[in-house]
């Protein structure tokens, strides 16, 4: 049973087509992340779900109700804005109870729900403060609290972590994950940060130019991207792409490689065509003796603590490979490497579609 359902949703601003025939479904309790580069239409899609942006084609259902023509306030959705959109002249308590006051929820009930949300979000000592007196992370929690007390069908987040510093972003991400696991509230979350998408989502909706590229779980998106865009957008550092050609015999030739593609990598039978071989930086190991595929001429090394990312050139092409931190690598070295081809991805060189 789907809890959130979008059917053929399209939206144009003048002649610009912001969303083009978008459809997806999510079950109750899902954490859906709308992911994509800026301008891909993910925020527009979120605003269409809220009803704050109107006039679109297609249908939207939330919790079995058709909300397509409904006023935002009747859709039972709550949203955390990128700017948090707290009311600057109201205390934390008043900010959280704002909607309940508007909707004439009795005072006792209001107080109960505010107290509950404050406890869940550790906002109790801050209830009488004004938003200016709060840190970014605290404001974020108030914005979430404002959503919690409304007991909505659907939680919406519009890039909620982009105004936080790196450490706080990590902590808040963890908190959001906890919160979701505890409340099991159906959530739609917009971000351009693949890391947030990977760590938070139960279902990622990857978008590009107003269209859905792929709907998948984070791990599936990583392991089996539908095309080159999906493969390069997900993963850090970006996937290595080696230009060449796939033969009907199932061999890939190009970029100094001539290798047999293991069974299971290709979705269908091999057919001769220009192709690109995608290899993630971790799909490699330093070769011993004579089993090396290629040699990497090391340019520079990025240590991350856990691993080393070795940036260099293989057959004249830029490549990044991950190696153990115990490896002794120095710029200028020539390192023999062996790709783990069973983890390879092959793309049609013209269409970008994964083969």
């Amino acid at each position: 049973m789907s809890f959130l359902k979008l059917e053929n949703v399209s939206k144009s601003f003048g002649t610009f087509k912001a969303l083009d025939d978008v459809s997806f479904e999510a079950p109750a309790g899902a954490f859906v992340v709308l992911l994509g580069p800026s301008g891909c239409g993910k925020s527009t899609l979120l605003r269409l779900i809220t009803g704050l942006t109107e006039d679109h084609d297609g249908e939207i259902y939330i919790n079995e109700r058709r909300v397509t023509d409904m006023d935002p306030k009747d859709r039972k959705v709550a949203m955390v804005f990128q700017s948090y959109a707290l009311y600057p002249h109201l205390s934390v308590r008043k900010n959280i109870s704002f909607g309940m006051e508007i909707n004439r929820v009795p005072r006792a009930e209001r107080d109960r729900r505010v107290a509950e949300a404050a406890r869940a979000l550790q906002l109790e000592p801050l209830l009488n403060r004004l938003p200016v007196q709060l840190s970014g992370g605290q404001r974020q929690r108030v914005a979430i609290g404002r959503c919690l007390v409304r007991e909505p069908d659907l939680f919406l987040f519009d890039e909620p972590l982009s105004n936080l510093d790196a450490k706080l972003r990590h902590d808040t991400r963890v908190e959001l994950k906890h919160l979701h696991q505890r409340l099991k509230a159906t959530t739609v979350y917009v971000t351009h940060d693949q890391h947030e998408a990977m760590t938070l989502a139960t279902q990622v909706v990857l978008m590009q130019d107003g269209r859905i590229v792929q709907i998948a779980s984070p791990m599936e998106l990583y392991a089996r991207p539908v095309n080159r865009f999906a493969a390069t957008f997900i993963g850090s550092p970006a996937i290595n792409l080696i230009k060449g050609a796939l033969g009907a015999d199932g061999r890939f030739v190009g970029g100094g490689l001539d290798v047999a593609i293991p069974a299971g990598v290709l979705d269908g039978p091999a057919a001769a065509r220009p192709a690109e071989l995608g290899l993630r930086s971790e799909s490699v190991r330093i070769a011993r003796d004579s089993d090396a595929h290629q040699t990497i001429a090391v340019d520079y090394i990025e240590p991350t603590g856990a691993d080393l990312y070795v940036n260099g050139k293989v057959a004249g092409q830029d490549v990044v490979v991950r190696v153990e931190r115990t490896e002794k690598v120095r710029p200028g070295d020539h390192l023999p490497i062996r790709w783990q081809l069973d983890q390879a991805l092959l793309f049609d060189a013209d269409t970008g579609v994964r083969l």
Binding site: L52, K73, A78, F81, A85, Y87, G99, I102, N103, L130
Partner: protein
């Protein structure tokens, strides 16, 4: 001759300040000091040598047998009432124009034009509009018949002050509009979106989001209006020549000083007005600073 950097910097500052400070002293500070001095003399506006120091007598007279001179001050109430109406209208227009409807830029310009218009031109336009055979009566005759005529500008009747206050509203509305509009634009759209999601209607959005955000700006404008209504001069001067019932405190002051040649009394009136203005500003600042410290974000 050469200067080191520090001396050079001081000289530069001094050179830049020389002209404005000179103007300030000659055109502002000196006349104000002179005003205070004149208010303590019986200067007749012509012969300075025959002026004698009379102490506070001018002030005492103002509150005793020259009390008539203070009566026009009560007419400030018409203009103060007018500026309240003006502020409400301006806020309303600003809120409507802030909704990014087509043509809002044009309406903003139209409403602002009277403010940038030359004072004399603005006065003449309104004088023509309110004359016995002017457009105002023409329009009303469409509804109330041919015989309908109101002497809007009959300066022997107190109600003519309402006409003048209306002219003042028309002229200064644009200023309030632009200031309030600027304050409105500083309110992030997200706050309205959040409120809409929570079910706030337009009216609730205004009172709960817009009004608290522009309250200080409105208060400031109200205080300016309060001071302005004490100093009303050009609108009645241009339309009714400040005759009869339409004379304001500023007009009376000038008549006293230059036509009746009682510069000492006129100066005392000016000092009195200055005192009221200063008190109003002190009150504003007190309210302002306590509010800022307590509530408002930077």
């Amino acid at each position: 001759m050469t200067f080191n950097a520090a001396v050079q910097r001081r000289l530069t500052i001094f050179a830049f300040l020389l002209v404005p400070v000179t103007f300030l002293v000659v055109l502002n500070i000196y006349p104000v000091l002179q005003l205070f001095w004149i208010s303590l003399t019986d200067f007749n506006s012509i012969n300075w040598r025959r002026a004698e120091f009379v102490g506070l007598r001018n002030f005492i007279d103002l509150f005793t047998f020259d009390r008539d001179l203070l009566v026009p001050m009560t007419r400030s109430l018409y203009y103060l009432g007018g500026s309240v109406v003006q502020l409400i209208l301006a806020t309303w227009f600003a809120v409507v124009l802030n909704q990014k409807l087509p043509g809002s830029r044009m309406f903003r310009t139209i409403l602002f034009i009277p403010f940038v218009l030359n004072a004399v031109a603005a006065g003449l336009i309104f004088k023509n509009f309110l004359e016995l055979n002017g457009a105002a009566n023409d329009i009303l005759q469409l509804f109330f018949g041919e015989d309908f005529k109101v002497t809007w500008l009959d300066s022997s009747k107190p109600y003519s002050n309402l006409s003048l206050a209306a002219a003042s509203v028309w002229r200064y509305l644009g200023f309030n509009l632009v200031v309030t509009f600027g304050a409105l634009q500083a309110i992030p759209q997200d706050q309205y979106d959040a409120a809409r999601l929570e079910g706030a209607n337009q009216w609730q959005q205004f009172w709960r989001i817009t009004f608290p955000s522009i309250r200080l700006v409105l208060l400031l404008q109200f205080m300016l209006s309060l001071v302005g209504s004490l100093e009303v001069f050009e609108v009645p001067m241009l339309i009714t020549r400040g005759a009869g019932e339409t004379s304001t405190f500023a007009i009376t002051m000038i008549e006293t000083g230059f036509q009746n040649r009682r510069a000492g009394t006129a100066a005392a009136m000016a000092v009195l007005m200055l005192a009221v203005v200063v008190i109003v500003f002190i009150i504003t600042r007190l309210i302002n600073s306590s509010r800022t410290a307590m509530k408002e974000p930077l």
